[in-house]
């Protein structure tokens, strides 16, 4: 394809950038193998005495093994939110794509416009409402808001318009199938690729979320990994100097990103060929 003239500069450019993207992660791996003392006293980009197993053991035993709970919570919040959001988006997107009802377009644009509302504008009143309902500091406080995925509705509607032929629906109706039956037996299968995309994006977005759980949860036993590690880091920094447990913050950070990195590497093929998708926002 084309000339080979551009190959060398293009490859060099990509290599330089690859170093930029990979180096921080390489540092994290190296730093995870060091004892607290070696972190301060040895060269950052090379190994010292191998202390990884001790760091891992310390990470999982600190504060009565609260790290296990953070892992469980993260998985719970991400999994339930992802499956729920994808189901709701499949139902809603199909409804928006294949039916006409009064106020449809207005509703749809309200949903899309909602991505512009700052997370704080929602988090404060949601916190107040949830606290009145006794939901704060429970998993539901994190999961319920995460189920609303405007991006999911948008993607599903586009996808359903293209992937579910109206003739197929009409034919099924003539055969006497109910609307629900048509969705469950015919449309849902055709929507599967978009369903997986919404599932993955919501999973990653909830896994990475920080603001919402920070606002909603007050007890460490309900924290996800992000809030928990930030909590440990603040404690370590406040402790200062060599008394601070930076080694478990670093090792905990490494362990926390391994599942998603492994999943991405394995799913690379799928992500490359999947439907056009949009990002989950939030920084």
């Amino acid at each position: 394809m084309g000339s080979r003239r551009g190959q060398v500069p293009a490859t060099l450019l990509l290599l330089a950038c690859l170093v930029y993207f990979a180096l921080p992660l390489a540092w994290l791996v190296i730093a995870s193998t060091k004892s607290l003392g070696d972190l301060f006293s040895t060269f950052g980009l090379w190994f010292a005495e191998f202390n990884l197993l001790d760091n891992v053991a310390e990470t999982f035993s600190t504060d009565d093994g609260v790290y296990w709970l953070w892992m469980r919570n993260t998985l719970l919040y991400a999994l339930v939110s992802a499956v729920g959001a994808a189901m709701l988006a499949a139902l809603g997107g199909y409804g928006f794509a294949k039916y006409d009802f009064r106020g449809k377009e207005i509703l749809f644009w309200c949903v899309l416009g909602s991505v512009m509302v700052p997370t704080t504008a929602l988090a404060i009143p949601t916190y107040l409402m949830f606290s009145r309902l006794g939901l704060t500091n429970t998993p539901l406080a994190v999961i319920l808001p995460s189920l609303v995925s405007p991006f999911g509705i948008y993607l599903m509607r586009l996808y359903a318009e293209a992937a579910v032929p109206s003739e197929l629906i009409e034919a099924a109706r003539l055969d006497g199938a109910s609307e629900w039956h048509i969705f469950r037996k015919i449309a849902f299968r055709l929507l599967a690729p978009a369903f997986v995309t919404v599932l993955l994006f919501t999973f990653v977005a909830t896994w990475n979320n920080y603001f919402l759980p920070l606002v909603m949860l007050s007890e460490p036993r309900w924290y996800p990994l992000t809030v928990g590690l930030a909590h440990w880091n603040a404690l370590a920094t406040a402790g200062g100097g060599a008394t601070a447990a930076f080694n478990i913050v670093i090792c905990g950070a490494l362990i926390s990103i391994l599942p998603l990195i492994l999943a991405f590497a394995l799913l690379q093929r799928h992500w490359r060929t999947s439907e056009p998708s949009m990002p989950a926002t939030g920084r």
């Binding site: 084309g2 540092w27 504008a121 404060i124 590690l229």
Partner: protein
């Protein structure tokens, strides 16, 4: 006659079915989005008093916000941030996407994975990691600088910190934007390229004159999402507060300020008003971006 009635019945039934399919989502949307938003609007118009309870103050909080230097300073800071960081990040993402799509580079698969990996790292963890990298105590950048006999810049200092945060955001989000642009490029029918090749266009000319114009919708999408993200910067400054408390303070970004007002100062009503002002800014800037992009297309 009977037929017409039957059709109307069918139509009505379909209307109901359509509503029923969207109901679960819309119900939750109303409960977890619309209701809190209205509640926040209500809160922003009142003041809590120790004696006498809640008092209506109208737009007082909004007026206060428009003259609050901490708030305006934060908005100006993130505006500066996005004016610099978003173009750099999107230019990088565009370059990567075009190079990867052109098939002109070796190691393309390795690079695709490498550039996308940071997306698997939560922003909080990215900020923690870069915080260590920037640090003087055991940061490798300071180590390398020491070995070279020079002093590393103070990444956490007053003038530099914003760009240190911009670097974290660029590191974390370039891959996602590359992914979106690459997906959009893959959706362009191959015949378009073949036509360009027949006309004698090389890889670079094809990229600039054929692919770039077709990428405009995807680029607009990336820009809007980056703008929304930049105005909501929170995790990075919140994490960096631990290592640079003097520089970050309580109002480095608008979201951080609103968070601190609401949850440390208990000024929930004022915080609600500020988040609406911030929302208005996000809205205005997003529309300005869309308008500018439409003007560009029209030319």
């Amino acid at each position: 006659m009977a037929d017409a009635t039957g059709r109307r019945d069918a139509h009505g039934r379909h209307q109901l079915a359509g509503l029923a399919f969207t109901l679960p989502f819309m119900g939750l949307f109303l409960a977890a989005f619309a209701a809190p938003l209205l509640y926040a609007l209500y809160l922003s118009l009142f003041r809590e008093r120790l004696v006498g309870g809640r008092a209506f103050v109208g737009l007082e909080h909004y007026v206060e916000g428009l003259t609050d230097e901490a708030f305006l300073g934060g908005v100006a800071r993130v505006a500066l941030f996005l004016a610099v960081q978003v173009p750099i990040m999107l230019a990088l993402a565009l370059l990567f996407a075009l190079v990867l799509d052109s098939g002109q580079a070796r190691l393309a698969n390795l690079f695709r994975v490498g550039v996308f990996l940071p997306y698997a790292v939560p922003t909080v963890i990215a900020a923690l990691m870069w915080g260590f990298l920037y640090g003087r105590d055991f940061g490798p950048i300071a180590d390398v600088a020491d070995r070279l006999g020079v002093t590393a810049p103070d990444f956490l200092g007053e003038g530099v910190l914003l760009w240190s945060i911009a670097n974290v955001a660029t590191w974390a989000f370039t891959g996602l934007n590359t992914f979106i642009l690459l997906t959009a490029l893959r959706a362009i029918p191959r015949e378009v390229y073949e036509a360009a090749a027949v006309d004698g266009a090389g890889a670079v000319r094809t990229a600039l004159h054929v692919k770039l114009p077709l990428l405009r919708p995807a680029l607009l999408l990336c820009t809007i999402f980056s703008v929304i993200g930049a105005f909501q910067l929170f995790a990075e400054p919140r994490i960096f507060f631990a290592i640079a408390p003097q520089v970050i303070g309580k109002a480095y970004t608008p979201n951080l300020y609103v968070f601190n007002l609401a949850f440390s100062d208990q000024r929930l009503n004022y915080a609600a008003a500020l988040s609406f002002l911030l929302g208005a800014v996000v809205f205005a800037v997003s529309f300005a971006v869309m308008y500018a992009s439409r003007r560009l297309v029209a030319r």
